[in-house]
Amino acid sequence: MAATVHDPVEADDDVLHHSATGLSNEKIAMWAFLASDCLLFGALISTYILYRGRSVVGPYPHGVYDIPYTSVSSFVLLMSSLTMVLALSAIQRNDQRRLRIWLLTTALLGTVFIGGQVYEFTSFVRMGLKIHTNLFGSSFFVLTGFHGTHVFIGVLMLMSLFSLSLKGKLPQEKAQTVELVGLYWHFVDVIWILIFTLVYLIPS
């Protein structure tokens, strides 16, 4: 939404909003951060792939994974991307009511996903898989936990946006803030798309 950023109303820090490309600083920064995060998750996912099938003691992935369960929670996260983009679309139309509905729905779906992950982790632990059990435990918990932390931060940001909107502090000119949080949120979602395939579905 570079077009709205340079609206005079947004000129609260004009000194810094000189723009050589016509794009907003914050959005370039967010994309740079996400590009950087590709390498972060690349390293974590590679570590998991490297250690597939190399644990010397159980439990092994096929013994603990519950594919139908994880499919549902993956679907939940996937749909939260839809509600996120609908929230952005709402604020761009200055539809505050729908903005709030979709922000809250997105945060809720994110929370459901995290809740599902917490349940999954506890059931794995009950089956005897802990971080220090074997290579599978270490690489699985660190990768998915790292991703879950990203989701959690996303939920915090969504709830902050929701409360700003309730206080009337998220006018249409601030649509970019929603867009930035949205970019982060979608990125977390696409990482899960990869994790779901590479970690859960691909046979070892």
């Binding site: 570079a2 077009a3 490309t21 016509g22 794009l23 959005k27 370039i28 994309w31 740079a32 996400l34 590009a35 950087s36 995060d37 590709c38 390498l39 998750f41 690349g42 390293a43 996912i45 590679s46 792939i49 490297l50 597939r52 099938g53 190399r54 594919i67 139908p68 499919s71 993956s74 679907f75 996937l78 749909m79 991307s81 839809l82 996120m84 983009v85 609908l86 679309s89 761009q92 949205g182 970019l183 979608h186 990125f187 979602d189 696409v190 798309i193 990869l194 779901f196 395939t197 590479l198 579905l201 691909i202 046979p203 070892s204």
Partner: protein, 113 residues
């Protein structure tokens, strides 16, 4: 993709935003995503598919889902090409570097070493 979208692309300025999709289009993309997910889980349970084929199918499907979210929901199709270049650089770099890294450790054969 509409015709107006392509005409925008030839603009020399980097500020080449195309019109964002409508809510209905977002819902359509989400339906496709959901359908692909259903297929993913479905093929996982078809034991008749050979392992290598299954792996390939799953990777292709997740790549399609990945691209759909990035291109539509993150507006990369419609936004400035600067963002596209930034993100694609990170993505391609990550893919290339870690593929070389994993290949040098023969990740594809679990019975190595």
């Amino acid at each position: 993709m509409t015709d107006t979208a392509t005409s925008h692309e030839v603009e020399p300025h980097t500020h080449d935003e195309r019109a964002h999709p409508s809510d209905a289009q977002y819902v359509a993309v989400a339906l496709v995503l959901g359908a692909i997910t259903a297929v993913e889980v479905g093929v996982y349970y078809i034991t008749a598919i050979p392992k290598h084929l299954l792996t390939t199918m799953l990777i292709v499907m997740s790549a399609v889902k990945f691209s759909a979210v990035v291109l539509w929901f993150m507006h990369l199709r419609f936004d400035s090409r600067l963002f596209r270049r930034l993100f694609v650089t990170g993505l391609v770099l990550a893919f290339a570097v870690f593929l070389i890294f994993l290949s040098s450790l023969h990740f594809y054969s679990p019975s190595r070493h």
